[in-house]
Amino acid sequence: MSQRTERRGIHVDQSDLLCKKGCGYYGNAAWQGLCSKCWREEYQRVRQKQIQDDWALAEKLQREEEAAYASSHGVQTQSHAQSTPPHPGHASLGPFSKFEEKKTNEKTRKVTTVKKFFSPSSRSAPKKETQEGKTTSPSISRHASFETDQVSRDFVDFLKNLQKPGREIHKQCRAFIVNMSSKKDLSAEELSECVQDFYQGMADRLMSHFKGSSDSVEQVMDQVEKYIMTRLYKSVFCPETTDDEKKDLATQNRIRALHWVTIQMLCVSMDEEIPEVSENVVKAITDIIEMDSKRVPRDKLACITRCSKHIFSAIRITKNEPASADDFLPALIYIVLKANPPRLQSNIQYITRFCNPSRLMTGEDGYYFTNLCCAAAFIEKLDAQSLNLSPEEFERYMSGQASPRLNSSEGDWAQTGSALSVTATNPVLAQLNHNLELLSGLSSKQEKLMEAAQSLQADLLSWPESVEREVHDILEKYPLEILSCTVSAIDANNVDNDNLPPPLTPQVFAG
């Protein structure tokens, strides 16, 4: 480049082209007059400093995080927990520092519940926690969940990008968690209200901070939800104050009792004979079961959505047209019956209580979640009519006196046409059936093998006889004639032998 401009006759001072660092290489305007090497070094230096600053902040947040965690769990023995007491006041934190004022100014019910967390009663909370800390080993609870720690780290990493407001968000989330852990006696509805109020208050403040950019707010709120709900999960999922657990058991038993319900009874348009369809069915079942393992409401929703998408695919492949609600709901009911998802009621309740409500009432996730609620409600109320059965039939199936699978074939299910419908409804039965087929195939092979072995044995037994017979025949054909003959040495006739020289004898030479 520089060579070319010189050739064209434009005078360029050689020194202008060299690296500004004076290393002797050519510089480049794109690198601010530096050579590539010096530029990289310069860039690296600035970035390095930035990374260090970020880390310093992240570590600070982390320490505060741990200190807060320790104090909420009555652990004061960790040295760093005491070395960095949380800063009492942040006078210069912009919109966030005004939160307390704003709260007292507003007169809505919403704000009064937020206030609960900063009221004197909540300040006595740590004491209560300390007592509890004696009974449960802090080190165990501290390391109880690697996931929780990871989420906390991610949260801090995320917030450090926001600098000071990030710290403030972090502080408030922590304070909220500490306060929540002292509110175990609240009813589930009250817990839900607290969390929702916190979301609302946080979102309002973020809204004013980001000057109305709702997408930034949403992004932060997602992280806040993730952090808070991961932390609170254990205490607010299926809380003792509710009968969630009882409902879970009831639903689980109900689904078990309905094991005999077939895909035909529910009028589901999924043909599991098609491999691609049954693949999607299996995936849908896996997804809905996986929901229980997630902690964040949004992650649980995502499982439901994935499950639903697989169902849509299965219907689409079967019918060769897009699935409508008439197809989807029965199919989802069928999947829930097959999956018997763990703690279904608790999960639905948890999502309802602690997820951002607009995400449940609107949007695609909301649609699938609503359908899951419908499926659960339907299963609870399901009766003879809902399956197009007579009440007597329904009763007999429910009591186990009869099974729809045995009806036509009276127990001979593996051999008649009903076997098809059996395999279509239950993967375990399908597997059993398959294994039976394999077994019967094996036994017929074994029979053949035995036959072959027996014939081989017979052959072996008859073989010596046949050989004997053959020998006999040959002997009869060619009777043995023994000719008399004089026995002599093989060289008996060799007369020249005597003329041969004697054999060589070894000689010893003196050396």
């Binding site: 305007a29 601010q32 990008n161 709702s214 409508s324 609107t362 419908c374 409600a377 109320k381």
Partner: protein, 227 residues
Amino acid sequence: MGENLPRVPGGAQLHSDTLHGPVRTLRVKMVILGSSGVGKSSLALRFVRDEFKNPSPTVGCAYLTRVVHLSDVTLRFEIWDTAGQEKYHSVTPLYYRGAHAALVVYDISKRETFVRAQVWLKELEKQYIPGSTVMCLVGNKGDLDQERQISVQEGQALASDRSLFFTETSVLSGDQISELLLGIAHRVYECIGGQQGGLSEWKETPLIDLHHRDTFTPFASCCKVGP
């Protein structure tokens, strides 16, 4: 694509984007209720297929979206199809929680679907919070005039009694479909759009880079070193 989108007469030509800054997009949840076979799914699909840009759904048509431009706002309809079979009626109320619009559809050639529509309306009214849901009665299959069992007057009277929006449509011929959607859009925006927390905003790309939102950007340094 502009021709296919319903717009407010008069306001349609104005490009609010340039005159008044970007147009807000608000989310509208619309539930379609009615007996099996009245044409709920077909109606939902028709709403969507009417839109030029929107390709026909590939996987499912139970949840569909359709954007409607009004003069100073854009509404993003989230259309919830429901299972119409009798046996699911008891769980259907779960669908219309928080709906901004509810369409109750019947088939003009089947009286029992009209009776069922009245049951839906009663149910909806039980849950009704004034000003929170726009309800609409729709007599579908208007093309089956010779098999008509419900007169236009009868439908109109039921709607007037309850001061509902009423129209007869034909998904088959496409008659009154876009008018229906536009009518609902106006009503929803007038009744709910102005309320605090009535309609939430929709963002096309919810993921933006927060790093560059704040005063201090960690990677600003690389820009300084560069040109």
